[in-house]
Structure formats: C-alpha cells, structure tokens
C-alpha cells in the first residue's frame, strides 16, 4: 500500500481511540455493537457524510461484512450519504412542532438561506433537513444543530443564530 493511501485512513489516532472506547463497552466478541458509534464518529470527522470507502474501512475495523455496515448506515436517519452543510439545520417535522408553526419556520429558513429542504448553500455552509420527532415537544417548534437543541424557534432567533454562524 502506498503511503498516500495509508494516510487517507480515517480510523487512526484520536478517531481510533474514540471508537475503541465504545468497543470496550461491549463483550469482547461483539465488536459489531460499536458500528453505530463508529459510523457517527467517522461521519463527524469526514465533513458530515459517509462514503462507501469510509463504510468499508469501518467494516474492516469491526470485522464485519461491508454489507452489514451499509445496512446499518442506510437504516438510521442520522447517517448521511450526500454532502450536507457545515451547519445542518435539522428541523422537527412532527405533530407538536406542526401545531406550533414548524411549517413557517421551515419556510423562513428556506427564504433566509436561499435553499430548499435537502439542499446545501453554494458555499457549503448551510443545509436544511426535515426530521421526525426529536423528543423536545415542550419547546416546539424546535430543531437540532450539531449536538445542540434549539427550542421555541422564532424568525428573530433564527436571524440572530444565522448571523453568528455566517
């Protein structure tokens, strides 16, 4: 293997130790149990989405058939397979948020950012995603951005947030 190819490996250093910590939570013969955290961590350090090469590397590391990794990576909604924005606005689309105005929030975000749900701004900075109930209905309408929840959303709140991120 050429040194360039070796350098492109993602499960190394800090990423490797983070995945290893999860592996140690499960019985020694159950490395596959760490596939979900491994996918999350790898996605996080790879620009927010997974490629076949990345999934294959996870399969190799966890001693799983690649197809078993693809199955998991395409089943769960948090894994991405296309480029997303550096800031991915995951807006709750479910009932309690609908009752309190999520349609207006999504429409405002689309107008403010100039992209539709599922699209990325040309500078790669922002994207909008509709997600199902995030379990914070008391703060509806709400969304997730990175690891944080943003609740009781208003246009003013979003303006302030976007300005800070721009």
């Amino acid at each position: 293997m050429s040194s360039t190819a070796k350098n492109t490996k993602i499960i190394t250093g800090d990423v490797k130790s983070r995945i290893d910590r999860w592996i140690s939570n499960y019985p020694a013969d159950q490395r596959q149990s760490a596939v979900m955290p491994a996918l999350r961590i790898v996605q996080e350090v790879s620009g927010g989405y997974l490629t076949t090469e990345l999934m294959d590397e996870i399969a190799d590391y966890l001693e799983m058939p690649p197809i078993a990794v693809y199955e998991v990576a395409t089943f769960y909604g948090n894994y991405e397979h296309q480029p997303v924005g550096e800031f991915k606005f995951c807006v709750c689309n479910s009932i309690s948020c609908m009752l309190r105005g999520k349609d207006d929030i999504i429409a405002y975000l689309e107008k403010r950012l100039g992209v539709k749900v599922g699209e990325v701004t040309p500078d790669g900075k922002f994207s909008i995603k509709k997600v199902e109930c995030l379990g914070a209905c008391g703060g509806a309408p709400m969304m997730q951005l990175g690891k944080d929840y943003h609740e009781n959303l208003t246009e003013e709140y979003l303006d302030k947030l976007i300005t800070e991120l721009e």
Binding site: E71, F75, Y76, S94, I95, S96, E132, G135, C137
Partner: protein, 426 residues
C-alpha cells in the same frame, strides 16, 4: 394545588441536581447500599414493586414486578438489564428531563433492577439526538463508578455490575424492545418475532429485561418509601405518579409529574390552559400511537389507564397533545401518517406498504385532490394493517387514523367535496 414532582422529577428544581453530591444529600444510593449489604433480597424487592402497582411507563403498561419475575436470576451465564431511553413517540419528552435533571435516580434504578434479575451489565439505550441527556447520564455513571458503587465486587459485596450507554441514530422503531436489542447488537433495528421473549432470548441471545427510563427511575423511591406509599399516590390499577409531557396548543407546554388519576382538566390548567384564549377541540392523550379524543370526552376523564381507556383511548407514554378549536384534523393525520410511513422499518409488508398508502391518500385529500372513495380506502387499508404485523408500529399508524375518521369524518369529506378545510369557509 395538586401535588407535583414526588418521584422522578423530585430533584429537578435543585441547583446541579444531576450531580452525585446532590443526589446523595437527598437519600440517593441508600437503597443500593442496603441491597449490597444483603438487607433487601431480590424476592422482597419484586414483591415491593408488585405492591407499588407500577406498570411500564414506556407505553405498554405491563406490570414491572411481573416482568422482573420472568427472569431466573440464578441461571448461569450473562444476563442484561436494558433501559429504553429511545424517546421518540411524537409528543413524548418526559424521559429527557429525567436524564437531564435526575440521572442518578435512573442509574440507581438500573443497578437495583440489574441485581434483582442477576444481570452482569446494563445498557441505557439513549436516542442519538439526546446529546445533553446522554452526557448527563454518562457523567452519572462515571461518578457512581468513582464512588465505588459500580464495577467489580461493589463495596465488598462480591457483586459485579457495570453500566454503559448505547446511542441510537434516528430510528423510532428502536423504541420497540426487540428492535432495541437488535440495534445494540449493531444491526438494523427491526423487531424480532416473539416468542422467544427477551427474558429467555434477549441481547446477544442472553436473558434480558428491558424497562423504560421513567419506570426504572421510579424504583429507588418505591423501595425507599414502600410499595404501598407509591400505590396510594395513584388509583386502583394505576399506582404512583406519572410524568406527563404536555405539548401543542397550551400556554405553558412542559413536563408535569402528577399523581395517577389526576383529572385531565387539572393537568390542562397546570399547562396554562388552551393558548390564545381559544377552546379545546381534541386531545391525543398518550402519544401519536393513541386515539384522538374530542374535548367533551377528554374533559370528563382522569389521567390513569382505566379512565382513559373508558374515554376511548390509551394512557400510552403519557404524551398529551392538545389541539385547539382551529385545528385541521386532516392536516394532523397527514402529519402522523407521514411519521409512521417514514419510520416503518420495512420488515412486514402490510406496514411497509400500508403506511405509504395511508400517507399518500391523506396527502391527496389535504391537497384538494381527494376522491369520494378515499375514505373507504383509508378504513380498508387500516383494517389490513391492524393485527397483521410483528410489532405495534403498524397498528399504531391506524389508531389515530381510525379515531380521526370516527370523530371527524366530516372534515375529510369537506376536503374531498370542496377541496379545502372546513376552516377555509368564508
């Protein structure tokens, strides 16, 4: 004032309530120490939990003491206690606040449950989006471990037990207990056919008990104050307190831990009443999987299993979704149908295909392109899903639909005949 926050949320008002010092200053881990000292044996604990009348708080309402008694704690080999914190039923956000503000009580509940069933380890399955609750819970585990309350030969008792977290990644179906098990095993979260039940064949094929967050977090208080204390807080067939998540068209949405049997109207008052000075139209009392109840039925019921069942719905996870008198029911059902179609795991054909049919037909009606035969189609497809699937998701998809058609069929007909909502009339 009705009594509030007597069990799971009892510490939530305190500064840094998630820290072990605060928990221990408020009686925390006393029961666990008693258990380790041999002062409470597993059979006694099960009897106390049975006396408390607590039933599974995740939605199914199965008696917890009975569930624990299915496990043979002396059977050789690994056994597991799992906590289901995959909170994702639309309208549900009660467990999030247990993990954010009282994580140690959940840790202690998992330890006690683990001891009773003879578990070697426990996993809390937390939905992946719950980063803050996960960090709080993880911190609680670490603090308990540092205090010597977890690990090998805990406090010299000879008992080994440890706790871990597993994070989900955005799949409602993993709240179904066997899908949750599959997910921890690193697979797609598709429910298993039962039997065998998890008590005989669960995580990694080992005997496993799965309880909801609120259920497990209630255990230390049940044992500290007695099963009878807990039972007496509630009503017949529904012991204790319940964390209700109230959302939708109220002035002050939020979580309210009140006694079982509290009148619905008192809970509504606690949430500030209907917003904008409007009137109540209807309620989904237990989360998206439970039947819609018109205002007059809801206002007459109490918040316990039997009273809600008598009104025509189900207590479920205690996720109370309030809708005011300007709510378009067809739009509500379109939203709920989309949820189930999106979240169907795809394993059973009636659910995979049926939820898509329901969504597409309701969407068509809402877009003003409905056909006269569509209402019959919705009833027909619902009937073909119900009872013909492995787990409850498909059934759940039909429940809101069926109840909406029972009470508000005229709203669907208006869309079909006029191409718009009843509220669009001049």
């Amino acid at each position: 004032m009705m009594p509030q926050n007597e069990c799971c949320y009892r510490l939530n008002h305190l500064d840094r309530s998630w820290d072990i010092d605060v928990y221990m200053a408020n009686g925390g881990y006393e029961i666990w120490k008693k258990v380790l000292a041999g002062e409470l044996d597993p059979q006694e604990i099960i009897e106390e939990v049975k006396t408390s009348g607590i039933r599974g708080r995740g939605g199914a309402g199965f008696p917890t003491g009975l569930k624990w008694s299915f496990m043979n704690r002396l059977a050789p080999g690994d056994k597991y206690i799992l906590c289901n914190s995959d909170e994702g039923e639309p309208g549900t956000f009660k467990d999030r606040d247990i993990m954010r503000y009282n994580p140690h009580q959940l840790v202690e509940g998992m330890m006690i449950a683990g001891y009773v069933i003879g578990a070697t380890a426990g996993y809390n399955y937390i939905r992946g989006e719950f980063w803050e609750p996960y960090k709080r819970f993880d911190n609680a585990i670490n603090q308990a471990r540092e205090a010597g309350l977890l690990g090998k030969n805990i406090l010299g008792s000879g008992f080994d037990f440890d706790l871990y977290t597993h994070l989900g990644a955005g799949a409602y179906i993993c709240g179904e207990e066997t899908a949750l098990v599959e997910s921890i095993e690193g697979k797609k979260g598709q429910p298993r056919f039962k039997p065998p039940f998890p008590a005989s064949y669960g995580l990694y094929g080992k005997p496993t008990t799965i309880n909801n967050t609120e259920t497990l977090a209630s255990i230390p208080m049940i044992l500290a104050k007695g099963g009878k204390w807990f039972a007496d807080l509630g009503v017949e067939n529904a012991g204790g307190t319940k964390c209700y998540a109230v959302s939708g068209h109220v002035e002050k949405p939020g979580n309210f831990e009140v006694r079982m049997g509290t009148p619905f109207k008192d809970l509504l008052d606690a949430a500030g009443g209907i917003w904008k000075g409007r009137e109540l139209k209807c309620v989904i009392p237990g989360g998206a999987s439970t039947a819609i109840l018109p205002a007059e039925k809801a206002m007459a019921m109490n918040m316990d299993y039997d009273s809600i069942a008598k009104a025509g719905s189900f207590l479920g996870a205690g996720s109370v979704i309030i809708m005011d008198d300007q709510t378009d029911i067809v739009k509500v059902i379109e939203n709920l149908s989309h949820f189930y179609w999106d979240e169907s795991c795809g394993q059973c054909t009636p659910c995979r295909e049926g939820t898509g049919w329901l969504y597409r037909v309701v969407k068509r009606i809402r877009e003003g392109k409905g056909r006269p035969e569509d209402i019959e189609s919705l009833k027909n497809v619902s009937g073909k899903i119900m009872g013909n699937v492995i787990c409850g998701l498909g059934d759940a998809a039909t429940i809101a639909m069926t109840s909406a058609l029972e009470h508000y069929e005229h709203e669907f007909r208006h869309y079909i005949e006029h191409g718009c909502s009843i509220y669009d009339r001049q």
